[in-house]
């Protein structure tokens, strides 16, 4: 202890500090999971019930009534997109609220404040994994034979959505301390998220209807790229899709061009979120 030198108490290493305090991160994640479903009978099952019901609604409304079921394995197509969007919504939405929700701590004790958004994203991953297992089970049921590139694409999509939701989460969590409006802005964004990516419809409808220019910008959305990568990994290698006369129609250059583009955009958003967060965090304690 005597070898330590004088240092500013609020010197922050940003996200690196979070890595240094993994113990605390783990405990906060455990707390969040426990607290969310306190005194509820179904507990963690609720995180299946919600996407399950959502899935059934979409399946009947779009698949049965609007006839999208005619596409081969539309169930897999829809489910692989839905779980990714759910992951994004949960991570981004909770991260936005995390700093204000932990205001009592932020005001009283010095901690790397990035811990709270990171913990929210981690909790979202915990909720994502079981849904992902259901997707895998369904894939095997439908004769799934993925290639290596496709699997790597899915990993890339997951990394992309994680970085994107953490970056946006940091940005809006910091803004939320100053203006509680950001919660509502985020809710609006999440409402659109399902429709701004080809979760319930096919990507080429966007291109054919609105033209190449619009499609280019549509395609720059990392969520769009991630959802398409999931389609490539989980939907297109199932038996019925492979044997369908028109095959799986996926965007050109998905792995060679759009995967790296999506990763770079997400990384830039993460860096932007982190820098805004660091600029504003000095004011958190007095604004909360």
């Amino acid at each position: 202890m005597s070898s330590e030198s004088l240092a500013a108490p609020d010197k922050s290493g940003g996200l690196l500090d979070v890595l240094r305090r993994r113990d605390l991160l783990r405990l906060i994640v455990r707390k969040e999971l426990k607290v969310r479903y306190r005194s509820s009978v179904l507990g963690l099952l609720w995180s299946y019930v919600r996407p399950g019901v959502q899935f059934l609604v979409f399946y009947f409304a779009l698949g049965v009534f609007l006839g999208l079921n005619k596409q081969p394995n539309f169930v897999i197509y829809m489910f692989s997109g839905i779980i990714l969007v759910n992951f994004f919504s949960e991570a981004f939405g909770q991260a936005t609220r995390s700093v204000v929700a932990n205001g009592a701590l932020v005001k009283k004790i010095y901690l790397p404040r990035e811990l709270f958004p990171v913990a929210s994203v981690w909790v979202a991953i915990v909720h994502f994994l079981p849904q992902f297992l259901i997707l895998l089970a369904a894939c095997f049921f439908f004769g799934w034979t993925p290639g290596f590139g496709q699997l790597m694409g899915a990993v890339g999509a997951f990394v992309m959505v994680t970085m994107l939701s953490l970056g946006l989460g940091l940005l809006f969590a910091a803004a939320n301390v100053l203006f509680r409006d950001s919660e509502n802005i985020v809710d609006l964004m999440l409402m659109m998220a399902t429709w701004l990516s080809p979760v319930l419809y096919a990507w080429y409808l966007v291109r054919d209807t609105l033209g190449e220019t619009f499609y280019f910008f549509y395609q720059l959305n990392p969520m769009t790229i991630a959802v398409e990568l999931f389609h490539a990994a989980f939907w297109s290698p199932t038996a019925a899709v492979r044997n369908a006369p028109e095959g799986a129609r996926l965007p050109d250059n998905l792995l060679s061009l759009w995967l790296p583009v999506g990763l770079v955009i997400s990384l830039l958003i993460l860096m932007l979120g982190q820098s805004v967060f660091r600029r504003l965090e000095g004011r958190f304690a007095q604004e909360l």
Partner: protein, 243 residues
Amino acid sequence: MGSEAIVVENVSKRFNLRHTRSLKETVVWLFKGRRGELSSTFMALDGVNVSVDRGESVALLGFNGSGKSTLLKLISGVMSTDTGSVRTRGKVAGLIEVGAGFHPDLTGRENVYLNGVILGMTEQETAERFDEIVEFSEIGKFIDTEVKFYSSGMFLRLAFSVAVHTRPDVFLIDEILSVGDEPFQKKCLARIQELRDSGCTLVVVSHDLDMVSRVCSRGVVLRQGKKVADGPIEEAVRLLRES
């Protein structure tokens, strides 16, 4: 290699009191030319210099609104300074408020672990000191009950107990010795004196002048954000009693 534990140099802190918290109001006020009313400022600290040596026990004294708690928050790192600098050496643990990190829906045991780690221990260290913490708090068999069912005294005892077992190098205390019944208060005081005697640096904010004169050797008096006295605790207390 200096011997200071805390160096506060020429620190000022200004608070912006914002009068609106929604984007809509801000925009409307900007258009209506009420920009000046969006916020007003208030100097909480104004050019304060304090240097605390290792092992010293210092009381920050002053009336309400004199900036004591703000200074403590700056030292803990919760807030950052506008001008000037604050530097500390070693592990700083703050009892800015007892039980800030406690969650009512977790059991006493879970809260001890969560808060031990929040206050800077590792999970391993918390586990090692767990029995000691529980014994000190006198919570006994209620340790596996959710904290929301605790009486306020039990809650504060457990929170205090976690905090005093973190063994920091610098220990910041804000008005906490109003914890629990008298026997427990005595025990807390004894524990804090024990920490002091073991070489821990103490910074105490309190209005309880009798307690402060027993724990601290030096007093810093603040008035409206400025340091007005710094010396032996008896003098500081006398100054405060006179005014």
